[in-house]
Symmetry: C2
Subunit: 270 residues, 2 copies
């Protein structure tokens, strides 16, 4: 199944939460530290307890790269734990000149076999093209991010009257020739989310920023509901994977995920 | 020695070429393929033959990550071959929300011990702050890149009359509190290079795009000469490391580097 279809089949069954495996050795339950490869053990438990209800898993490459070779081994082992019908996002925020982006695309898609990437638009179309050439994968391009720094450039107004992030959104629609583009739109920007809906078309929207960063799940879901759009994937990392630090941590994460799904379901049925 | 000082001491001795180790198994001399870890053997030979005359080495992480664990091992071994007084740039073009950027910074600076990074500005200040917090390192922030896609967003005009890349340049100056910022300015944009000189202040400028991408070394150096500015680091990758594919390939690269240095020296003395 190609990446977009994996995601749509989850959306169709009411699943919209992406579990963000930003797994950090200083934050996982202490009892795991005595095991071999604690991060892998943590990820494996979280995946096992959430896989029935997750729409996708997002692995933030920074959290693995920081441990070099050891970290990459953990990443590879973790990916093998994720069932094949669930979208895996390599959250790497890449973007470089063509021959370099080709290597990054090959790393994410061929070597690690991720279903999806996240990409920086700053360098323009040819910097993303090698990713777009993978027709069965999905590329979430940064439009408006969830962090305070989104005001520095993304929310700058252009002389054509659009904000920079709107110009990026416009271009992503233009580049989405083979239906393998999505966008990143921070859940901390509900006003902008509402205002730009007409430009989303059928692009899957990855929304980071719910939970620790202050974005509100219900606000965001209501905006999609109002627009009869089900193409949303809400990422929750810290607030979900660190729900508890006892021996039963993974069950607590599973419950937390079910809570999120119920909240979404309630709004969707309203 | 901190990163900026390493670089300045090279500039003072007339060295301005950064050797870009974009080492690709399909492009290195064929006779190396029968050795164990051909990319490492290639890098080692290039480093040995160019270290007397190089101002810096830039390792493009994409070229190593694409081979996963094996690639990272090659990267680590390669870094050990570079003399301590020569700046090493981890060309990774990172940029993410704070806690993630912290991990990327730790990966490049603590784990791999690179002297310098390259960064995507799109997500704004807090996405770069964890890198800027490393006071003894150097961070080259993308201002105007060398690729055709630089027209898509970087050269968009803002409502304040500046181009986006000029706004980024302006902000980098503001963020450069501890003298650990530099900028990336593509050598394929000589007109913009000339026009924006007054905003460069004492920022080291990394110029990619000379050689295979069509940027002209002499044009660029003359602009710096005219402005009595020696803070330029010209990256050459493919045109230098693949100068030859015979058994004597590394000597040819060494000669090529000497040629570049002579050209620069001639302009500097004019």
């Amino acid at each position: 199944m190609n990446a977009v279809n994996k995601l749509i089949s989850k959306f169709d069954s009411g699943k919209h939460i992406c579990v963000g495996l930003d797994s950090d050795i200083t934050k996982i339950p202490k009892h795991l530290l005595k095991l071999d490869d604690p991060i892998f053990q943590f990820n494996k438990s979280i995946i096992n307890s959430t896989k029935e209800n997750a729409a996708a898993y997002k692995l933030n490459l920074a959290f693995y790269e920081k441990d070099g070779i050891k970290g990459l081994r953990t990443l590879e082992k973790t990916l093998k734990q994720i069932p094949d019908d669930i979208l895996t996002i390599g959250d790497a925020k890449r973007g470089d000149i063509g021959n370099t982006s080709q290597m990054y695309a090959s790393s994410l898609f061929d070597h690690f076999n991720f279903d999806a990437s996240t990409l920086h638009p700053y360098m323009g179309k040819d910097s993303l093209q090698p990713f777009l050439d993978y027709k069965d994968k999905l590329n979430f391009i940064l439009v408006l991010t969830s962090n305070p720094g989104s005001s520095d450039f993304e929310k700058q107004k252009l002389s054509n009257g659009k904000f920079l992030y709107q110009e990026v959104l416009h271009k992503v629609n233009e580049w989405n020739k083979t239906n393998n583009c999505g966008i990143v739109f921070g859940a901390t920007n509900p006003k902008e989310l509402e205002e730009n809906f007409s430009l989303f078309n059928n692009l899957p929207v990855l929304l980071p920023g719910v939970g620790s960063q202050g974005g509100d799940l219900e606000t965001v879901v209501k905006i999609f509901r109002k627009n009869s759009n089900k193409n949303f994937l809400i990422n929750v990392s810290r607030a979900l994977i660190y729900a508890d630090d006892s021996a039963g941590f993974a069950d607590k994460s599973a419950l937390k995920l079910i809570e999120y799904n119920s909240k979404i379901d309630k709004i969707e049925r309203s």
